[in-house]
């Protein structure tokens, strides 16, 4: 009697589960099938469009080649030892415990390699930190969770926030091309002009980063950091906040339009009129 009741309960529970089945399966399928159709498989830094980003890219490639060569040599020697000096192949252990010559060599050579790396790195750093003789200034303020841009000399300022709809985030709608990398008001700068960017924040620390324009810098409340960009070409460039700043850290993108000088002036005027 007791067993019968138990069985009935289990059957009922199974029925219940099966009822929820289709929904469950579709959720699982959604979860398992990768959403993206635009396969990118990007392996390297994004294509640089400023002098700084180009210098960083070249430096990155140089150092990566150096460490790759070192890595390959280390791995080759290890694999050679593993194959050659096995007990199963009758290898007899040598007795040596040190070799001053070898130790000097593998201390001196790395030191020389480091010096080779340090020279271009120092030059690059000097270039990046030189914010003098800029053509214009934009003050960028990070806040939870968006950016505020202030063209102080031209009396233009506006907020810039994510426009990706919630339905795309939760998956009830197909994700658009610029999913999570789209904002309502783009930052606009003229091509070929040295733009000094002042960074600060209203609440917590954020970091402003558009990979193609160069490196990132922290936006810190109560302090002003600076960096500069001079774009070589026009176009739209996208980036993201890159310092954990709370719940919606993943949802505060940056979009910069680089335009011709005339177009920039027109944009400024339209902003001044609308403001």
């Amino acid at each position: 009697m007791h067993i019968l009741r138990e069985t009935k309960m289990i059957v009922n529970r199974l029925k219940h589960l099966l009822g929820a089945g289709p929904a469950l399966v579709s959720t699982l399928v959604l979860w398992v099938v990768p959403a993206s159709v635009q396969a990118e498989w990007a392996l390297n830094l994004q294509r640089p469009v400023t002098e700084i980003a180009r210098v960083q890219y070249d430096l990155h490639m140089l150092i990566m080649y150096i460490v790759t060569v070192i890595g390959v040599i280390v791995f080759a020697v290890m694999f050679y030892s593993i194959v050659k000096f096995r007990k199963s192949k009758g290898a007899q252990p040598a007795k040596f415990t040190h070799s001053t010559k070898a130790e000097v060599i593998w201390t001196v050579i790395p030191t020389l390699i480091l010096i080779v790396m340090a020279v271009p790195s120092t030059k690059a750093l000097l270039l990046m930190e030189d914010t003098t003789e800029s053509d214009m200034v934009v003050k960028v303020t990070g806040y939870q969770w968006g950016w505020h841009y202030d063209y102080m000399e031209d009396d233009v300022d506006f907020f810039s926030k994510l426009t990706t709809p919630q339905s795309q985030i939760t998956g009830s709608e197909t994700k658009g091309e610029n999913y999570l990398l789209e904002v309502d008001n783009h930052m606009v700068i003229p091509v070929g002009k040295k733009v000094r960017i002042l960074l600060t924040a209203r609440d917590v620390i954020h970091a402003w980063w558009v990979p193609q324009l160069g490196g990132k810098k922290d936006a810190i409340p109560g302090f002003i950091n600076e960096m500069w960009v001079r774009a070589d070409e026009t176009g739209t460039f996208r980036g993201q906040c890159s310092e954990l700043c709370g719940k919606d850290h993943g949802y505060m993108p940056i979009v910069v339009d680089v335009v011709e000088e005339a177009e920039y002036q027109a944009w400024l005027t339209s902003q001044q009129n609308s403001g």
Binding site: A35, W106, A118, K175, G250
Partner: protein, 523 residues
């Protein structure tokens, strides 16, 4: 006759729960530490799986962003303070007295307390996930002002860090006292096994670094509740000062996590290469050199905060210097293998993998040392890949090498070699499937600590998540191996391996409850 009786009485093992609660025996305490570490490894690992499940594809599927941030934070804290650090203290407890010929640790009662602080500390941290506002969500680096915004969970985390810091400092004092005072006659400093050397240096790092962290989080606590403004610019404070103090602790901490692993593989490789360790003296000095440098490189974790040019240059050069002693160590291990007579039991496989994959992490570290390039790498998945190559492949694989190496000594039984090899190959392949693609994600511009990402990052994240799940579940094999070895198996001889160096191999397997009641003579 009388001695036999006395010895017999001496070897009586206490029974029941009180054996573990009140124990002052270094082997019991070592066992407690190691089990605690393994449990935390699984707990922290499950949190990593929550992260990988959410990142399997773009969009929000599994958790909400705030809980995601809590997982990121608590995963790191548990792995660093719950799994890796106690794991190495477990090795220290078990092996230091046996390797230097001492009967026990110098301060056995304090030893008990150092361990029993841990479960309470970690309970506070896990409890924080269930209080209003949830656990800490500002990353394990708990940078203010973000960490000042958090709820009660942040306070619990601060207390966790205080207690863990106490435990670490007590442990470090004990280790230094033991190594300095209790070595067998004839064991001069330069005759100590390398594991002992790396641990004594680590212990000094702990004593120097942990109080700094305690100070930083205490200031955070008073900023949160007692009206101070150490890190609040509105009150004249400086949020970046927290980062300087934190990383003054944080960088030595990185070496606290890695040096004992270097020690373990320096014991393992000579045994299976059947050849003495190459360049013992330079190993000792390289370890000390790394420890010294670790105190003058901290700001390379924060190149983007807007330091003066001279500061950026200094930290770039000093960081690059670390490559030299680290390179010396790697070359020494390779030279130990060179012209040896190698066999590839599981401990040796893990030791070789540690050297090889730590090299990958070391080389990406060199890339990040270059300040201008780091402005691109900073806070991206490249960093995530780098420090998992260093901490998982350096510290955790080194620990696995040690577990398989000494397990027969601890349990008296050989472990299951087939299962050990399965554990090894699954771990190594799954680890690389998980973390190698993250280098590419970082280059392509994916920031770390985000629950959702734009579509260009989708492919590599799928691969990474699949690898992550295989990696996580493969660790259960280790649990099976250890339990099987405790329960039985082929009896291990005292030497276990072929002519291994060291006093620990002169005592029977399993090691008796008390060893070296009379100090051995070291020639």
């Amino acid at each position: 006759m009388t001695t036999t009786v006395a010895d017999h009485h001496h070897d009586e093992v206490p029974k029941g729960i009180t054996r573990w609660l009140f124990t002052t025996n270094h082997k019991d305490i070592g066992t407690l530490y190691l089990w605690f570490s393994f449990i935390m490894f699984l707990v922290g690992g499950s949190m990593a799986l929550v992260i990988r499940a959410e990142l399997f594809q773009p969009g929000l599927q599994v958790v909400d962003p705030l809980f995601y941030n809590q997982m990121v934070t608590v995963h790191a804290l548990i792995m660093i303070f719950g799994a890796v650090m106690p794991g190495f203290v477990g090795f220290a407890n078990w092996m230091i007295p046996m390797m230097i010929g001492a009967p026990d640790m110098a301060l056995p009662r304090m030893n008990n307390w150092s361990f029993w602080l841990l479960p309470f500390a970690i309970s506070l941290l896990i409890l924080s996930l269930f209080v209003p506002g949830g656990g800490p969500a500002a990353g394990w680096t708990i940078y203010p002002p973000l960490s000042v915004q958090g709820g009660m969970g942040v306070d619990l985390t601060i207390f966790t860090i205080h207690i863990l810091g106490m435990s670490s400092i007590l442990g470090a004092i004990n280790i230094i006292a033991t190594i300095m005072n209790m070595r067998a006659p004839g064991m001069t400093l330069m005759k100590m096994p390398l594991f002992i050397w790396t641990w004594v240096i680590t212990a000094f790092l702990l004593i120097a670094a942990m109080p700094v962290l305690a100070g930083a989080v205490t200031m955070l606590l008073t900023d949160r509740h007692f009206g101070t403004a150490f890190f609040d610019p509105a009150g004249g404070g400086d949020p970046v000062m927290f980062q300087h103090i934190f990383w003054f602790f944080g960088h030595p901490e990185v070496y606290i996590l890695i040096l004992p692993a270097f020690g373990i593989i320096s014991q393992v490789i000579p045994t299976f290469a059947r050849k003495p360790l190459f360049g013992y003296t330079s190993m000792v000095f390289a370890t000390a050199g790394i420890a010294f440098l670790s105190f003058i490189v901290w700001a390379h974790h924060m190149y983007t905060v807007g330091m003066p040019l001279s500061g950026e240059l200094f930290f770039m050069y000093s960081t690059m210097l670390i490559a030299i002693p680290t390179g010396v160590k790697i070359f020494n291990w390779m030279a130990t293998m060179w012209r040896g007579s190698m066999t590839f039991e599981t401990p040796m496989l893990y030791a070789i993998a540690t050297v090889a994959l730590f090299t990958v992490g070391g080389l990406t570290g060199l890339m990040m040392a270059i300040t201008p390039a780091d402005f691109q790498y900073h806070d991206t998945y490249f960093i995530v890949a780098h420090f998992h190559y260093v901490i998982f492949c350096g510290s955790v694989l080194g620990m696995f090498a040690g577990v398989y190496y000494w397990l027969p000594k601890w349990t008296g039984h050989m472990y299951d070699e087939t299962l050990g090899k399965w554990h090894f190959w699954l771990t190594i392949i799954a680890f690389n499937v998980t973390f190698f693609p993250q280098h590419f994600l970082g280059f392509a511009g994916m920031p770390r600590r985000i629950p959702d990402y734009s579509l260009q990052f989708a492919e590599f994240n799928v691969i990474s998540s699949i690898g992550g799940f295989v990696l996580g579940f493969s660790q259960l094999i280790l649990l099976v191996v250890v339990i099987k070895a405790i329960r039985g198996g082929k009896k291990a001889s005292a030497e276990v391996w072929e002519n291994p160096e060291g006093l620990e191999w002169t005592v029977p397997s399993p090691a008796p409850y008390h060893t070296f009641a009379t100090a051995p003579e070291v020639k």
